[in-house]
């Protein structure tokens, strides 16, 4: 877990230049934990956060590591903060998940019409293969793979390589958080 407040000077995050300063600290933390793939970012004790600050910190971090590492948000009950992060993420076409207990909602960008079901399927389990979704939906594995690849490309999911029963390479897709 990464507590954003611990990287901030004050409980309020205001403006781009302050955001860039905090971003560098966050970057050091992420680089200092190379084995970590998913970072649950706690917004606990953060009082306010404007769009510019959110854009330069959380959203920029998620965008920079898209497809490689995942960042999701927890302890975020403040509606205004959520709205501001949402607006900043939307601007950069970056999805971000907010987790509340066992359920999550996506802010920023949304999955396209064609990938929405695949995304919901992936969100229902910690990890899955495209072939599992193909079987459930009765669609071709190639079609399912395309949807999952798109979700991975756009920052909705992570993936890692695995060896399929056939001996070939297969991707295992992971939800973020």
């Amino acid at each position: 877990m990464l507590s954003l407040r611990q990287f901030m000077k004050r409980p309020d995050g205001w403006g781009r230049s302050e955001g860039r300063e905090i971003y560098n600290r966050l970057l050091d933390f992420v680089e200092g934990n190379p084995e970590a793939i998913v970072f649950r970012v706690s917004l606990g004790d953060v009082r306010r956060l404007d769009m510019s600050f959110a854009s330069e910190t959380l959203v920029e971090l998620a965008r920079r590591y898209r497809r490689i590492k995942g960042f999701c948000l927890i302890d975020l009950s403040d509606k205004d903060i959520a709205e501001n992060i949402d607006a900043a993420a939307e601007r950069k076409n970056q999805p971000l998940l907010i987790w509340e207990g066992k359920s999550a909602r996506v802010i920023g960008s949304n999955p396209s019409e064609g990938t929405r079901e695949a995304f919901q399927f992936a969100m229902g389990r910690s990890e899955c293969r495209a072939s599992e979704f193909a079987t459930q939906k009765g669609i071709s594995i190639a079609n399912a793979s395309m949807k999952f690849k798109q979700l991975w490309n756009e920052g909705f999911l992570l993936r890692r390589e695995s060896v399929a029963d056939s001996g070939g390479v297969e991707f295992i897709y992971q939800r973020i958080g």
């Binding site: 004050r10 309020d12 205001w14 403006g15 781009r16 230049s17 009082r47 306010r48 404007d50 769009m51 510019s52 854009s55 403040d78 509606k79 205004d80 709205e83 501001n84 607006a87 900043a88 939307e90 601007r91 950069k92 076409n93």
Partner: protein, 304 residues
């Protein structure tokens, strides 16, 4: 040539401020060298007009024009209110005051004594007061405790001040100070939030970036671009930035707030219709008397 701007003997909203300016020969006009702002008895200057007047007077003396504010009612009238709000603390000492500049700053005397009232705050580009948006939004919350949406309102006001004040630091490009102010009306039923700077005006800083970053907006008129900035966002630094103004508008719309944007020669008044700001319901004024900078005011009514 003397240029007289006479305000009416009633509450002076931003619209009446503009009417008074239009009724003059233009304080920034090349042949205006002696400018008098006349404030008659019973004239009450609302906060958004007050900081526009403050910015304008400071602009005029910075161009070596003789500039005076004539308060016909003396300190018993609107001058007393402006003194309490810290107007004279922010006013360039070269601006003449008639009958005379208040001897004591009531803002300095009472500063911090009333958490519901926040004096006009100077925004100097060299120094950022990190607590400013919080102080302003806390004052709104203190004054509006009876509103059920007080927390949401506080959050919206914080975001609006944070984004608008930061814009001054990032874009205004001037040595003159900017100002932030708010006024909460009795009962908390109406809240005015205003931020002014004397810089280049957002259109001047945005126009050059439109062709490359927002080609769809490049051929629109200034007024149309302005409405779109508040609807879609936009920044001279590129498409993935500049959600600030759009975000401010989104917050304000939730409270059915009207939005008033004054640029050097234009003014757009946006009133939400069905939850959004639309071009066809925007009141647009062009070729106005020159007032440097960007002056933005939000007027919040009751919670939506």
């Amino acid at each position: 040539m003397q240029c007289v701007v006479r305000f009416p003997a009633k509450w002076v909203s931003a619209s009446l401020f503009e009417a008074a300016l239009r009724g003059s020969c233009g304080p920034h006009a090349p042949d205006s060298h002696d400018i008098v702002f006349e404030i008659p008895a019973d004239c009450k200057i609302m906060i958004d007009s007050a900081i526009r007047l403050l910015s304008l007077a400071n602009q005029l003396v910075s161009t070596t024009r003789r500039t005076r504010l004539r308060f016909e009612e003396g300190e018993t009238g609107t001058m007393g209110y402006l003194n309490r709000m810290g107007f004279f603390d922010c006013l360039d000492p070269r601006v003449g005051i008639e009958p005379e500049r208040p001897f004591i700053s009531r803002a300095a005397l009472h500063r911090g004594g009333n958490r519901m009232l926040v004096e006009i705050t100077r925004i100097n580009r060299g120094v950022r007061d990190d607590e400013l948006p919080t102080r302003l939004s806390d004052a709104v919350k203190e004054a509006c405790t009876s509103r059920v949406d007080v927390e949401d309102l506080g959050g919206a006001v914080w975001t609006i001040f944070a984004e608008l004040i930061q814009n001054i630091f990032d874009h205004s490009d001037t040595q003159l100070d900017g100002y932030a102010a708010l006024q909460v009306y009795p009962g908390g039923n109406k809240v005015s939030v205003a931020v002014s700077d004397s810089g280049r005006g957002i259109m001047d800083t945005l126009r050059p970036a439109l062709r490359t970053e927002f080609p769809k907006l490049a051929n629109l008129s200034d007024t149309e671009v302005l409405v779109e900035i508040f609807r879609q966002g936009g920044s001279r630094y590129g498409a993935d930035r500049g959600c600030g103004l759009k975000g401010c508008a989104a917050k304000a719309i939730k409270f059915a707030a009207s939005l008033d944007v004054r640029l050097p020669n234009q003014r757009v008044l946006l009133v939400p219709t069905n939850g959004i700001y639309k071009l066809n319901t925007a009141h647009c004024y062009e070729r106005l008397p020159l007032l440097w900078g960007t002056h933005i005011g939000f007027n919040f009514g009751m919670g939506a």
